[in-house]
Subunit: 889 residues, 2 copies
């Protein structure tokens, strides 16, 4: 026969911590503590299988359950030497839900069950405290009536308030035992009046009513919603825990408290916790009385005069801290513990791995490893890579007051305060004057880059997590809030409004790029402190890691940052970002608006030295490492002149008439630039552009090799390939330029020619493309756009709605979609290797810095991930974790 009931307490237990699926989290942990010989109030767990059977069988319990419950109850009775329903020594129990995954507050709990008109007297006698007993009974009536009998809790609150008002009582503590008895009479009358039957006096009826209610709460609306939002399957079910009650409110030798075995805020290795004498758990939470510190050191740190548990109950304190050690050693992690002391006897009510700040997580993991409690690899697995962001960027002082203006998307982490500016030029001007500014734009474009650089933070009204502003800000390590849709910038560009409030240029605002919040005024920020623990963890991570981590970087500054953070090369250097500089853009425009190859060549000849210098600087920083350079990718029209002045400049530079330039610019406009004349399509139709770029790359590489004696390995990447012939066409031209350059320079360097795999077709025909490509870099930003048919720039109109309605769980531009986009990456990787077993495979989309996506990359077996410089440490840790998790398979 299936075992429906698992007993615990009294020095033993049927269950174990690894039986979480069957017993729920709470039941499994209680069993584990009991097995360890810890003082756990005895009780039993009705399994999740009963819950499943209950729902499968039209809300009927399996046969034999009643008998099993009776038997388990008898066991509890004999351990605590009390009897359920007994008038003299009554056993009271709690009935609590306990699911496999924590669902805090979603399901029901009943405490003090087993009280009735008779047993309450026994409780009073046993406790020597009549007031306590009747207070407990009225609490039970209130809770049971609400949870089990479905009565509105307001009815009871009204009775109590009226009773207190009539007597000019203010606090509940003003009520005496007699008062509570009088209230109970009114409570019972209210139950009779509403339900037409008395409050149940039969303790077994009470028990089954509570069990029904807890199982029933698995299917209440709250629980269903919570499960939907957290992807918890319905068929997991909940367990029910029935446990003997213990009381921290039975006088001055009783107490209740919560504790952490280490400081959850800093991670320091000292006990941390609070307790209240003569109180129940809810009193600690309610905050009416100020709890006391657990330890002498603790209260001294806080300057608290109230005596600590160490002083008040030194013996119990010793017993408790011994248990802390036992539990931490047993679970090999910092524990979050609940305990109650009833008349001097310590009872353990709960233990679990404690939540902690990012800083504490890092310190605890490193300390545990150094104490020999966990391995270095386990330490690596213990730190959430995403939480590292907190450690790498300034954050808002949690104590500072805030005046929330609006909320957008948390596009680039970090916090910053500054004066509002609305144009890139103004940002640069004020920054040059030494002022801190925040650039506020409807959206940004490549021409705003100098302003973004000058600003300490960026806010945009439109655009998603991978909009231009977000991508560039993350690349620069600037905090950024995107898509703050309520922000409306006035036409004159002198102020913005947010639901009626106006913020003018020059006003101070603060943004938190980790939450997406924007505040009015300056909010104090805290600078990050990187401890030695961080460096230690990174060393361990690097040992565990299989994939390389590279950075997406174009400027020498970014490259230096990346190298400082441990990047092992550049995975994506976007050459077009080098084109927006003020002194180049006019020449770039001449190139684009050229009417034929000769005019284009003339412009390209002017650009060549600029590009070569860019690469020389970059390659000097990155010497000794591989650098993947993507040839020009964006649609030509991104570079088009917009204003008459800009057109005039191009006209002067190129000698082409203004009218002709305007006509040509109009010709180049596209309906869907993302799907238009860009990437290798430019390279194929205007081969001279890529030829110039390849020449600049290879000449620079040769010069750096000559100067420093240490070369980069240029990996020349052709973007947006969808057909093998495109790559073949361009590769032969690239190789021809290489031959020329090497002859000119008298030096032959290693270089690779490969491609971005960023279109579904490229992934599907990767076997063919690999005939021409020495490497693939999966450009999962564009691949996500085309696989979903979804423009990043335009998804703002509906994606927030989709996320709110639960149609998508995570934005596919933030975390790689495993079923669609990930499947194409896998197909591409497999087929690429079919043709060329040693093909180098990497990812250079924004996903390269996202831990969940990095885990997919590890599973697929990519050689490296590439991400923005500031995410390199996160990627190193995530890659290590992915590598370690993969080992378990």
């Amino acid at each position: 026969m299936t075992q429906y009931i698992y007993n615990f307490g009294g020095g033993s237990a049927d269950g174990r911590t690894d039986m979480r699926n069957l017993l729920g989290g709470k039941g499994a942990n209680l069993a584990e503590m009991a097995s360890l010989g810890l003082p756990v109030p005895p009780g039993f767990t009705i399994t999740t299988e009963v819950c499943t059977a209950f729902y499968d069988n039209n809300r009927q319990y399996p046969e034999g359950l009643k008998d099993a419950v009776d038997k388990a109850l008898e066991r509890v009775e004999s351990i605590v030497e009390r009897k359920f329903g007994d008038a003299e020594k009554p056993l009271l129990v709690s009935v609590r839900s306990g699911a496999r995954a924590s669902m805090p507050g979603m399901m029901d709990t009943v405490l003090n069950l087993g009280l009735n008109k008779e047993t309450v007297k026994g409780l009073a006698a046993l406790a020597g405290d009549e007031r306590f007993a009747y207070d407990s009974y009225r609490r039970f009536i209130q809770m049971y009536s609400n949870v089990v009998l479905q009565m509105d809790h307001h009815s009871f609150e009204e009775i109590l308030d009226t009773y207190k008002d009539d007597r000019d009582y203010v606090l509940d503590t003003d009520l005496t035992a007699a008062d509570w008895q009088a209230v109970i009479v009114k409570y019972e009358a209210a139950v009779q009046a509403e339900l037409g039957k008395p409050f149940p006096q039969d303790v077994h009826e009470q028990l089954w009513g509570a069990i029904d209610a807890v199982f029933g709460s698995w299917m209440n609306d709250r629980s269903k919603t919570y499960r939907r939002l957290n992807a918890i399957p319905e068929d997991w079910g909940t367990a029910v825990n029935v446990q003997a009650m213990v009381f921290g409110n039975m006088g001055d030798t009783s107490a209740t408290g919560v504790a952490f075995t280490r400081d959850p805020s800093t991670g320091e290795n000292h006990y941390y916790g609070e307790f209240l004498v003569n109180a129940q758990g809810e009193d600690v939470v309610a905050g009416i009385r100020t709890p006391q510190n657990l330890t002498i050191a603790g209260r001294q740190r806080q300057g608290n005069e109230d005596p600590s548990l160490e002083e008040v109950m030194p013996e119990t304190f010793k017993e408790l801290t011994a248990i802390f050690q036992t539990l931490e050693n047993h679970y090999r992690d910092m524990q979050d513990i609940e305990f109650t002391i009833q008349e001097g006897k310590l009872w353990m009510l709960q233990t679990r791995n404690g939540k902690r700040t990012a800083k504490a997580a890092l310190k605890i993991a490193v300390d545990l490893a150094e104490e020999g409690k966990i391995s270095e690899e386990e330490a690596v697995l213990r730190v959430n890579p995403a939480a590292l962001d907190q450690l790498l960027h300034p954050s808002l002082d949690p104590k500072a007051t805030r005046d929330l203006l609006t909320k957008g998307l948390p596009a680039s982490p970090g916090a910053a305060s500054g004066k509002v500016v609305f144009t890139a030029d103004e940002a640069e001007r004020l920054a040059n004057d030494g002022q801190k500014v925040i650039l506020v734009r409807t959206e940004t474009s490549p021409e705003d880059i100098h302003g973004m650089h000058a600003a300490v933070g960026i806010v945009t009204a439109r655009g998603g997590m991978t909009s231009h502003a977000a991508v560039v800000a993350r690349g620069m390590g600037r905090p950024c809030v995107c898509g703050a849709a309520e922000v409306r910038i006035d036409k004159a560009g002198t102020a913005f409004t947010v639901s009626g409030r106006t913020v003018s240029a020059g006003d101070q605002i603060t943004l938190d790029g980790a939450t997406g919040e924007v505040f009015f005024g300056a909010v104090k920020t805290i600078e990050p402190e990187l401890s030695g623990d961080f460096a230690k963890l990174m060393v361990w991570a690097d040992k565990a890691r299989r994939m390389k981590v590279r950075a997406n970087a174009e400027t020498p500054l970014d490259a230096k940052t990346a190298r400082g953070f441990g990047a092992e090369g550049i995975g994506l250097c976007r050459t077009e970002h080098m084109f927006f500089d003020a002194e180049r853009i006019t020449v770039v425009r001449q190139m684009i608006l050229a009417r034929d190859a000769t005019e284009r060549k003339a412009a390209l000849d002017k650009l060549l030295p600029f590009q070569r210098d860019d690469f020389r600087e970059l390659f000097t920083v990155m010497r000794g490492l591989p650098v993947t350079v993507r040839l020009l990718d964006p649609p030509l029209h991104e570079f088009l002149p917009h204003t008459d002045k800009e057109i005039e400049e191009v006209a002067q530079g190129s000698g082409i008439a203004v009218d002709q330039l305007k006509a040509r610019a109009k010709d180049l406009a596209e309906q869907n630039p993302m799907l238009g004349h860009r990437g290798c399509r430019l390279g194929v139709t205007f081969p001279e552009i890529y030829e110039m770029q390849v020449r600049a790359i290879l000449e620079a590489a040769c010069e750096v090799a000559a100067e420093t004696g240490d070369a980069v390995v240029p990996e020349i990447m052709v973007p947006l390939v969808s057909m093998k012939k495109e790559l073949a066409f361009l590769k032969s031209r690239i190789d021809a330029v290489a031959t020329e350059v090497f002859a000119d320079k008298g030096r032959i360097l290693d270089y690779l020619v490969g491609t971005m795999v960023e279109l579904p077709r490229a992934a599907l025909i990767a076997d063919e493309i690999a005939e021409e490509a020495a490497f693939f870099s999966f450009g999962t930003n564009d691949l996500t756009q085309t696989t979903y048919g979804l423009s990043r720039d335009d998804s703002g109109a509906f994606m927030p709605f989709y996320i709110r309605e639960g149609l998508v769980e995570t934005d596919p531009f933030v975390s790689l979609d495993p079923k669609g986009v990930g499947a194409l990456v896998e197909i591409g990787a497999e087929r690429g290797r079919q043709t060329r077993a040693d093909i180098k495979l990497g990812i250079c989309g924004e996903h390269g810095g996202d831990p969940a996506s990095i885990s997919i990359c590890e599973r697929i077996g990519l050689d490296y991930v590439s991400c923005s410089p500031y995410r390199v440490p996160i990627a190193r840790l995530a890659a290590a974790q992915a590598s370690l998790s993969g080992d378990d398979d």
Copy 2:
């Protein structure tokens, strides 16, 4: 030992017609004719394997070849009783290439080989005609020197011209035998002068020179280019045919001619051909003398007085026509035949399946089947579906003179003449006055539809084969030329220019949508005639066909056309096309610009009766058949008001201020509308739009069922799904509306809810989507766009270059890309069936009417294809052919 040489002639042959790969087309057919006992001049074929070996082995022939050639030559000598190089009875041979696939004019040929200073005398004696012999010899020198010795043919032409000028000769026929002898001396001197050695007199040297030259010509630039353009592999190689010469120019009992066993122009079952007495093949082609008809009936039909072969050589004619029958019966198809009569003796030089017009192809296939020579299924396979277009649309009179203005893409077949107009309104106005107009636009938009309808043809300067203009024109059956890039419409819209020529509004132009040509002035057109043969062939095709054929249609007129052409349902009814009508567009705009659901609902309530009436009309036409209705798909901004007047109209209708409307319209503009807020993303964010449409569909279906007693099966199609939850979200709403409508109408109808699979992700997760979808319709237009990352509207900037450079062989928007897009269709179909074995699968992109794509659909096992009404017959035939070809596997 490998057999390098295959003999033929003299009543037998080593080869057969099915040895085309080894012997080339010409060699295989000569062998076949010889085997049939037909009088073929004897000869032999050096196989394609020799060619391959020759190139594999550094241009060395395999061992033993020389001996084999000598032996084969001896066999020929003994059959014709002449000797190669013999001074008295010299054997002359031709040396010709003959590859597996016809490569007309690409490779080299040498005739009259075996002539030299001695043998020419023997030839003269044998023929009794000295002039003929020396003329032959000088032709040989000319041809051999050019083909084999690589001399420029101008040298010889100059010698001959000078010779004639000196003697005041005008025509070659003015030269006597002595003259030719004199010319030959000069020719030989020229060879000696240029090459430093005499013209080869050794006939074996001549022969090997010619064989070398023919094999060598396989790798000349012409051949390479031709192969690249026609996807012929290099390693197929060519064969070389060496054959005894026969002469049609040996007096009045000699003749040469070409014949078809049926009329290649009309397909009628009478002999068709021409001959010239005392002439060589090249004289027939050269057109200096007018050839005579083969038959009495033939010359009477043409009103030709010259006697026919039937009259001139009745015996030979009888022999020839008996051979016609033999060959046609043998090859079971109309034959294209070359023959020569040498001194009364008939020789067969070539037979092959004859090229024919579309009309002839149809008639011949049907006749052959009815004559019992081929089966009905073979008849179905004999007609090229694409050629049916010629039979279904008007075409230009081939005899009419033309003045070509420019050329664009052949976007929609048919020819039309009319007056140039530049706006849709003007087109409608003039058409209402009974004038024929051609609408010329830079590009068209949905608001031009009434003008396209009013016009007899459409020309656009921009856009590809699947641009708006092309798609709509094909749907309406209007001829259309798209992407005529040279056309520049002036700003005033009163004229356009094409490379300097100006065409004004009101000028007549003519377009040929089958070729993409645009002519100045009115060119006479021929109306199509659909014979009974067409109907017969369609009946046979329908018997053979597995896939159903549906049409893409919205209007009752299109639906009627489609049903008339045999459509078995509607596969795509684009509801948005119903929104552009003048009386609706303002209401549609109110709906789009609505600021909230209430305003939107108000507009939708006004639209509901319009939509319901549309569907009622459509469903009445289509009763008894399934109709797939796609819910609103295009980006909202496609409907936005552009002009101030339009905005004013919306403001009046909706009560929203003009300024607010403008701001809202600006908000709705998108960067990449193709990847934006469209399709089911609209349906999810504004569910009331689809609810209105579903109500209109189902109410109309109920009403038509009530009126006619015959219902359609509405297949409600949700567009642009990329996640299962989108479809689940909408399906529950669709089903809810259905329940309401059926309750209101007191009638329950069958209906299906399904989705377009038009995004890569939808194909990849088709197993999940099929949980919600009763059918998939592959929207391969959009799927091609996203798989390639290629916008149809923007591909014009580079696609023509790609096609010209051979980077793509066919435009993937015209013919389904099998490797990428086709692979996704296959994945989608497989995964869909995994979940739902009976899921209905169709295709509704433009590819649904393309024979090559239809063949892919058959292979994947789709249930139906859907195409524009005018392509339904083509699709029926192509589907039948795909079905029949599939049976062979």
